[in-house]
Symmetry: C2
Subunit: 217 residues, 2 copies
DNA sequence: CTCGTACCGGAGCAATCTACTCCGTTATGC
DNA sequence: GCATAACGGAGTAGATTGCTCCGGTACGAG
């Protein structure tokens, strides 16, 4: 089975022997870490991560100085993946298709699954900058989709971000969950103008709603 | 502020003095427990529950023999609320309206928020029976909605159940989150035939998908 | 007013769990 | 065959947690 939500695209130069094992371990470690953090939240333990990766605890600590270190790395990676997905989406001919492929990519990679934990780590200025970049590309993507006319006018970038985060929490250890795919298809159809049965409730949430979770502590 | 997702409808006979305090404590305890369990999952602690309820740990243990006991009680209550909501939905004139009000009620009360923890407790036969009753009334509700014609034909009761569970995981400590309302409105619009842009992916999930989480251990 | 009592809060404890260190082992590359 | 780099995981100190137990507090009957 291919790793659906694999954290790194590819090990750049394929090496041999012990070094290959090391590179492989590194990737499996990140994959496993994201799975376990997403599934167990605060209750995630390093031993569970190592076990899921099929790696000794020692190998984990040779790469990451601490549990928090690992989580920080994971968050950064997730944000970068988000940005990549947005870039790809912006290159699509059709704005709506671009937005949908962005959402699909983020959900598949479970980019949002770490958000609930983000408040528990110290955030570096670099991470803030990356987060801002991510928000900006999402804004573009949504603006373009609005111009295209197929996206409900009352949907904001924040709605999209939360949607992705919501699906990130879905059944994290059951990768090939068909249920997630079905619900996602439902939600995406709901984003389209054709389904609009009434305006979305409430005032659109402010930026504060989004940044709160990456801030403080 | 009124407790939106309050666990019990009402204290039946309003008493006075110490007994009133006891009854109030009991309700606040259940509310707090659900909030904390939903928000922290496995990492929920009894002290956090007691603190959120504004109650001493002693008072908690006078009512429930153990943490697991409390959780079991909570699950049962949630299932009963689900059944109540279904009954109400079935009484609505319009099948679609009935289904929507069921979904709204379940999401508001966060009926599904405990599902991820359900696998960690021993399930009594009574709980199984209640769960079955709940599934049956949901089946009815969905069948009626299908006949009504406004619900997408490819949506199954299980899709609805998972949808509710998904939204139960949403931002559990931020009760009046407007974001949740917006996404829910989106998802509900997606359930309607008018939005159907294509069939839902994959084979419809079997019952096994649903019962798995309430089973074993 | 006074006393019995029912309920309260939370300090403290034993047991468990967890992040992390350290070292003996393995096998690769020269 | 040797130096070395990566490995796995037992062990440890410390933090955490579920739960017990008891001294206090205020209600309400007499």
């Amino acid at each position: 089975m291919t790793s659906i939500g694999c954290v790194r695209k590819q090990a750049d130069p394929p090496r041999r022997g012990r070094q290959a094992e090391a590179a492989g371990n590194d990737r499996r470690l990140l994959d496993a870490a994201r799975d376990v953090f997403a599934a167990r939240g605060e209750a995630a333990t390093v031993s569970a991560i190592a076990e899921r990766a099929g790696v000794g605890i020692g190998s984990l600590y040779r790469r990451y100085g601490s549990k928090e270190d690992l989580l920080r790395q994971l968050c950064t990676l997730a944000m970068e993946q988000t940005i990549d997905a947005a870039k790809e989406g912006l290159q699509a001919d059709d704005p709506w298709t671009g937005l949908v492929s962005y959402i699909r990519a983020c959900v598949t990679q479970r980019t949002g699954s770490l958000a609930p934990l983000a408040g528990t780590i110290v955030t570096t200025p670099q991470m803030w900058a990356t987060a801002r970049r991510g928000r900006r590309s999402l804004d573009q993507l949504v603006a373009r989709a609005h111009e295209g006319g197929r996206l409900r006018t009352d949907v904001t970038p924040l709605d999209i971000a939360w949607l992705i985060e919501l699906f990130g929490r879905f059944d994290p250890l059951d990768k090939d969950s068909i249920v997630r795919e079905r619900l996602l298809a439902l939600a995406i159809d709901g984003l389209s103008t054709s389904s609009q049965s009434g305006p979305l409730p409430g005032p659109a949430p402010g930026t504060r709603h989004y940044e709160r979770r990456w801030g403080s502590k």
